[in-house]
Symmetry: C2
Subunit: 430 residues, 2 copies
């Protein structure tokens, strides 16, 4: 973990650089998989599952019996925790609903905007060593609140083709329509184009390895929507001399354990804190079971010492981190000045883990600087906004001439005609 | 214009097919342009402008003098119309603002979501035969309401390198920061990566030809956001025997004049109306100055006769049109059943042109079936939603154990530690 002191603004871009992945190379690798699934459907998925997951799968659909017996296997304390998190996530995402307001922009011209659920959504839930059931909560709960009719999950088959029981329990709890044991780029292609057994969806959500991410970006060029471009996870901590070095170190490391390409950045104006956090990181790192991953991730990570809180805020906004923790005095005032971040955690008692699991906010957030323009997943991610308008005869008599003048100036005669022909009729009726 | 009677559901996909464009070929053509601008900056733009626009440009930035004198050239009746449209667009988009609500998901756990403007936005305004100043209203007005700090326009230089005065007037009126005379894929690359004279932006908006669209899709893979994938414009009209065939024909043709790849679909349950609209289209088509374009577009267009209103609605939802006009009885009841469309126009006196120009709704809308998952441009398009949370000691004592259990089940020990280390400290303090 490198420490950088008082960097000049022209060097910010470089010291805030993120680990690079070779995207084009990934596109080249993933494109044939996608094309093959698009053409050969289930047969291609079966072949790729054998190739990549080393297993022969006959039925991708997880049966109701498998789900039922999985639900019995989950520890009741964990079930309770999941239920509690779900309640909070539901409460927060429900608060994002808005009622329809009819706006009369001119007398007789009524316009309104309505959120309408996306009909078919597909959630990708990664497999691997840990069952990421929390991501199901973060995606299926708002999908259900939004009113999505069909919610599908694809997740890679484990040993013997089985899916971790906690994944099945959480999917069942959140009302997921169907679960398929398919992973990787082949799962993304299946949801994007549909196969004999896996339905085509309108939008694909969820994290994944770099192949899955590349596959999502490719299918997004071809008719299906995706939640957002995803990169490695990252955190920035703003801390001053009021911070507890052990808390800060724990927060940096909780990011670092995600993967070797994760990044954790401490921004501080306290030389003393920088030193203490550095020592704490090394101390806590040794105690972590996943310390090899975290150790590598810490090599991408930095402690940056700035002159004052304003510089610290500027630097954080330039970085546009996925997660931003404010372990500082006046955290609420500083939060008002944050303009680029996925999710912000205020104060010394609000670790990122809270939002990762249970406080109610979503943990699917923009990485890689995308927080400058993208929102994290929220209720709106599962619906689209349709506008409506209705014009009365009075409204058209009023506004019609304005439309005619503008259409004519854009040389769009037929656009003008569509108004003129109606105005003529209205004048005739008089 | 082909007429199709009572198609079976299995044929819907085919009869609702859209004109295809060869995307991969476009990507191959546009990629070198983008790479060249990324590497060579202004010099590359100058070269491409000479090559594609046949003109030598020394200063891409449009000067204040040029803007001032353009404002004097615009007809006052047109200015008044633009001002009136702007007022309506502002009113409707202002109504899309929401106040921040702090949600206490559990005692001591406060979460909120805040819309924060995207700092730097770039608007692409096409050139060509007609000055599409209305698109500036549709993009710059919500950008300004959202609070975007910098709003740039790129638009291709006309003959002598000049920009149409109405474009400059509208840009000036809406408070655009700077205007650059650059068009095509080179303009998109300039806004995505920045050059010596054109600033890098966070999100690019606006329509364009197929090269511009392809360029937007490519840069979207590389760090910049775009409004939405864009295809040729399209309309579906639902009409029954209450409809005026001349109005319906005018609406279909106003779509068709956009370009040869535009598409207009009439869906009706009245054989009589189908016949009358067909005749009216041919009659009105002959009178249009742009009738060559419209004539070609009508070849992509269809009249589809269905059995009843429910089938008509189903078909429209399957098509997911950019624009949907409901020239039917009970239009308000039917509007409630529309689940896939960009913008919906209710009744016999609400032509699409109203929303294209002046009623207040946005005209930048999802095409090509993307309306199933994408919203049209709206106030949210110019901001991102950041979530915030703050947990008190009471909150962490309550929720902490839930987070610990979940993190442990996902094998994320450091995530758990970030909570445990704080709980230990809180217990010590007691």
């Amino acid at each position: 973990m490198q420490t950088i002191f008082y960097p000049n603004k022209e060097n910010w871009h470089q010291i805030l650089s993120r680990p690079v992945n070779n995207q084009e190379h990934l596109f080249d690798l993933v494109t044939p998989v996608i094309n093959s699934v698009r053409i050969n459907g289930d047969k291609a998925i079966k072949d790729f599952t054998k190739l990549f997951d080393k297993i022969d799968i006959d039925s991708f659909l997880v049966s109701q019996e498998e789900i039922n017996s999985a639900c019995l296997l989950v520890d009741s304390e964990l079930k309770e925790a999941i239920n509690r998190a779900m309640k909070n996530i539901r409460k927060f995402h429900q608060s994002q609903q808005h009622s329809v307001k009819i706006i009369e922009t001119e007398p007789g011209v009524k316009c309104w905007q309505k959120s309408v659920p996306i009909e078919k959504t597909g959630l990708y839930i990664p497999g691997g060593s840990a069952p990421l059931f929390s991501t199901i909560l973060m995606l299926a709960v708002p999908a259900e609140i939004a009113g999505c009719k069909e919610i599908y999950i694809c997740t890679p088959p484990g040993i013997n083709g089985q899916i971790n029981p906690v994944i099945l329990y959480t999917a069942h709890l959140t009302g997921v329509t169907k679960i398929f044991r398919v992973g990787g780029a082949q799962a993304i292609a299946a949801m994007a184009y549909g196969t004999e057994s896996i339905p085509r969806v309108d939008k694909i959500f969820g994290p994944g390895n770099s192949y899955v991410t590349a596959a999502k970006q490719i299918v997004a060029l071809n008719g299906v929507a995706i939640d957002m471009p995803a990169g490695p996870s990252e955190v920035a901590v703003l801390a001053d001399d009021s911070a507890n070095p052990a808390f800060v170190a724990a927060d940096l490391l909780s990011q670092a354990e995600h993967g070797t390409d994760s990044q954790a950045i401490l921004i501080t104006d306290s030389m003393q804190l920088a030193k203490l956090v550095y020592e704490e990181v090394n101390k806590q790192l040794g105690l972590l079971p996943r310390n090899e991953i975290a150790h590598k991730a810490m090599q991408n990570s930095r402690i940056i010492v700035m002159r004052n809180i304003d510089e610290m805020i500027d630097l954080a906004n330039s970085y546009a981190p996925e997660h931003l923790i404010l372990e500082i005095k006046n955290d609420e005032i500083v939060a008002e000045k944050i303009i680029n971040a996925g999710s912000v955690f205020l104060g010394h008692l609000t670790p990122e883990s809270a939002g990762d699991y249970a406080s109610g906010t979503n943990h699917t957030l923009p990485t890689y600087g995308y927080a400058k323009a993208y929102s994290g997943v929220n209720l709106d991610s599962f619906s689209k906004k349709i506008t409506f308008q209705k014009i009365s005869s009075r409204g058209l008599l009023n506004l019609g001439p304005v439309i005619e003048i503008m259409a004519e100036a854009e040389l769009l005669t037929a656009h003008k005609n569509a108004v003129s022909i109606r105005l003529d009729e209205l004048k005739k009726r008089k």
